[in-house]
Symmetry: none
Subunit: 226 residues, 2 copies
């Protein structure tokens, strides 16, 4: 049947059943038990499930939803946020745009402005092609999954610039107004941008509110609802 196909089959079965036992899989997929166990072991290392005695269970999917998944969620809301954020930008500005699906939506509204954008996000660069915007790409290690640059080099790069405004995202905003990130590398970048910008705008949709994340990296002052 082939390895990849079995993997998908296992995951789709698990999607409905919350738990699966190996012997069931042996029968359904027509391969030996050791093969099933090997599959489960691999899927576990990929973080796609959790092995147990006799089978496997779903893995709680909160932490670190991958970027591609994120990009489709709450899309219309995010687009509105991007439009609203863009209203704060004017000719002559130098702005940071952090990576993230929400900040990305700013781009389509600023293509005709005479501004400079400093960003670590490849989707942002892509979205600003064929525009009047001057783009400065932050250098450093590329995170393939997030499609963005991060790391020590990137932080240093940011430190050498100054911007009028920074547009950043957040993985969570709690009731006290703390901003949370789910990864240190991401938080680092955001903090560097904040440190060297006159004004900072946080772009986050409603699903981020009232939650906490893994790492607190900043605090909100004013709130504008869309």
């Amino acid at each position: 049947m082939g390895f990849e196909r079995r993997k998908k089959e296992i995951l789709s079965l698990l999607a409905k059943k919350e738990f699966i036992n190996a012997s069931e899989l042996v029968e359904k997929l027509g391969v030996s038990d050791i093969t099933i166990r090997r599959d489960l072991a691999q899927l576990e290392t990929q973080g796609l499930l959790k092995r147990t005695h006799g089978g496997a269970t779903k893995v709680d999917e909160n932490p670190m939803v991958s970027f591609d998944l994120k990009s489709s969620q709450n899309d219309t809301e995010k687009r509105k946020i991007g439009e609203a954020a863009a209203k704060h930008i004017q000719d002559g500005d130098v702005i940071f745009i952090d990576c993230g699906s929400t900040t990305l939506h700013i781009c389509s509204h600023i293509k005709k402005l005479n501004i400079k954008v400093i960003t670590n996000s490849l989707p942002v660069v892509s979205a600003l092609q064929n525009s009047h915007v001057k783009v400065n790409l932050i250098g450093g290690e590329l995170d393939h999954k997030r499609q963005a640059v991060h790391g020590k080099m990137a932080v240093n790069h940011i430190k050498q610039y100054h911007a009028d405004k920074a547009f950043i995202g957040a993985d969570a905003i709690d009731q006290e107004g703390n901003l949370w990130a789910n990864s240190e590398t991401e938080a680092e970048i955001s903090q560097a941008m904040i440190a060297t910008s006159d004004k900072v705008y946080v772009c986050a949709d409603s699903s981020k509110r009232g939650k906490k994340g893994y790492l607190r990296f900043a605090e909100v002052i004013d709130v504008e609802h869309i």
Copy 2:
């Protein structure tokens, strides 16, 4: 049946089935297994599917930021040059890849290597998505037309690294073996890469030979014809 037609057939089959195994294709399309595998390999380098053991799966991922990998003049010659250049790269290497249509062709041959690529070229980044290669993006001002980063920041970025090998292009190579560029910004980048690499490979197709350009930036030592 012809290559192009088979390609389309494979893709349309894959469109419905989420997964295809090679033996199935062998039967359906009436060609040998090795041919099918070659087709799949080509389709994979074009990012149209993902190969697996026994077949291929859809590459459903979000339409990943792609900067045009479009073919240019002397494409087949350039492809061969890229292949030949890639033979000089091995696991563990740290390499520079300059922007340019010839150097770009190196990428499809190094996706499975365990190396680090430092580049200022967005198409290179794009071509190395879904590969094992660790990418370091050179930061600085983006040249929209060339789809590459250049400028003072970029040169500084390069200076902070050291590479085993550098793969650069050239706009012209005269009979005395001088390398010529048509723009200073490009020459700057090339020179910076040359300065901090142990070994430098110039990738240029036949149309560049026996000509001079605007700015002389380096000199050839050895020549290897393809």
